[in-house]
Amino acid sequence: MTRDSYRLTTLLLPAGIFFAAFFLLPLAQLFHIGLTGKQGWGAYTAIVTDRNYFSSLVSTLGLAAATTAATLIISGIAGVFLQRNRFPGNGALVAMLTFPLAFPGVVIGFMVIMLAGRQGLIGDVSRWLTGDKIVFAYSMAGLFMGYVYFSIPRTILTVMAAAEKLDPKLEEAARSLGASTWRVVLDVIIPGLKPAFISAGAICFATAMGAFGTAFTLATRINVLPMVIYTEFTLEANIATAAALSFVLGAVTWVVLAVARTAAGSTVAAAG
């Protein structure tokens, strides 16, 4: 059936051409532009040699790691709980927890402002309780809150889907062998959910690395890599540096996802 094989290639071709023209070629061009600045290859090493860039990279990585850890713990507990227990209102809770699934970063930023901004709920409550108005939306803490907010819905969905496939008989077997609840969680549930944790965690990580809308809404001064790139590009018109930095950011994020995918043995993708 070699004729069919040609036809299949024909079907693949439009996507392939589009992709080559608007992604692969531009990415190559981006790499090339990164080299055209004063520093040449130095633009690519600047991310570790330049103290400012390096500190941005470190804080971005730190933020991404913290977001991932917090999201996994929160969504792990809530997701397993909702999957394992059926009670009236369960469906409504799941619907509410997954509602913000498609909020873009800018809207997430606004949600953080509603909670922790100058006119936010947390500030009002804290002033009422202690007299002090707590406002942290426009800082790294606000960004952290936003990324966790963004990541919870999709992570809960992933965890719930994985928990559904966990065989309850494994837990029963562990219990029959005398395992305590904690041992069951440690020895059965967490290992069983590991692939889901890895893939969902990778998405959280990639989001926190590359997302831009939330930071943009909260404050342009937050020292994370996407904001640095944006500033270099628009305010400093330093296109070579912006290109090099975004190429490095893209490469780092892609590598993290690829490694996670190999580890989890399934496909992983981020949205943002």
Partner: protein
């Protein structure tokens, strides 16, 4: 079943998470219809802010709808045939292509947008038209369409179904249109909803790709958040919710319907 302290502790935790996610949504909806948010809802309700948004940002809403529909058309034309070809051909080449197609999702939108600008920024007419944004959106959403269709195609025994059709005399294209497409309707629908929703909310790329004349809804939102009073930002957010909520509800319903169907087949 008797429920112990552990159950209630977890329930309380889950409710807290729920409050964290939903409280700001409710606050922002309220703020969008309150006369003066600073002095609270005692100041009364109004649709003034919503109308202000409509007057000032109507164009962004229409542009976003237009782009998301064009994006849907693009991903259907490019993505569905590609997913079918990928499902049929499991070799090193197709796996590499599948991997590549997902890259625009993994690579930060900022980087993709910059790459597009440095490559095609000089093409005047293209750079300033909304199709420049469209290209970015298709790149970003295409993997979702492909994966959604691919998931359905790998769940059915496509090979045997096609052989069955071929044994009755169906040619390659007859098989594609009579058997393959109708049997991945569910995947196409789910993928379509996802594509429209994502395109409607895309900001990371769009912020760099847009021009003053091609502002999309999220771009307008960012504008409003940065420069206008909280009530207008809220009202604008409210409009955005009204647009994506039906899509989200449809997506959730589709997911449940499919689950229910699987259950029925098990019995």
């Amino acid at each position: 079943m008797k429920r112990g302290a552990a159950f209630y502790a977890q329930l309380a935790f889950t409710l807290l998470v729920c409050a964290f996610l939903i409280a700001p949504v409710i606050l922002s909806i309220l703020a969008g219809v309150t006369v003066n948010y600073q002095s609270g809802i005692q100041s009364g309700f109004t649709l003034r802010w919503v109308f202000a948004v409509w007057d000032g940002y109507r164009d962004t809403i229409f542009l976003s709808i237009g782009i998301s529909l064009a994006c849907l058309a693009g991903t259907l034309i490019l993505g569905v045939p590609a997913a079918y070809a990928l499902a049929k051909r499991q070799n090193a080449f197709s796996r590499a292509l599948e991997e590549l197609l997902v890259m625009p999702v993994a690579v930060p939108g900022l980087a993709t947008a910059l790459a597009l600008i440095v490559t095609y920024g000089g093409a005047g007419g293209f750079r300033t038209s909304w199709s420049f944004i469209l290209v970015g959106h298709i790149l970003f959403t295409l993997p979702f369409m492909v994966r959604s269709v691919l998931a359905v195609l790998s769940a059915i025994d496509l090979k045997t179904l096609e052989e069955g059709a071929a044994s009755l005399g169906a040619s390659f294209w007859q098989r594609f249109f009579h058997i393959v497409l109708p049997n991945c309707r569910g995947g196409i629908l789910a993928g379509s909803l996802m594509v429209v929703t994502l395109s409607m909310g895309e900001f990371n790329m769009t912020w760099l790709l847009h021009t003053p004349l091609t502002k999309t809804l999220p771009v307008g939102l960012a504008d409003a958040y940065a420069s206008l009073r909280l009530e207008i930002g809220s009202a604008y957010t409210l409009v955005f919710f009204l647009m994506i909520v039906p899509l989200l509800v449809a997506l959730q319903w589709l997911g449940q319907a499919r689950q229910a169907k699987f259950v029925a087949e098990d019995e």
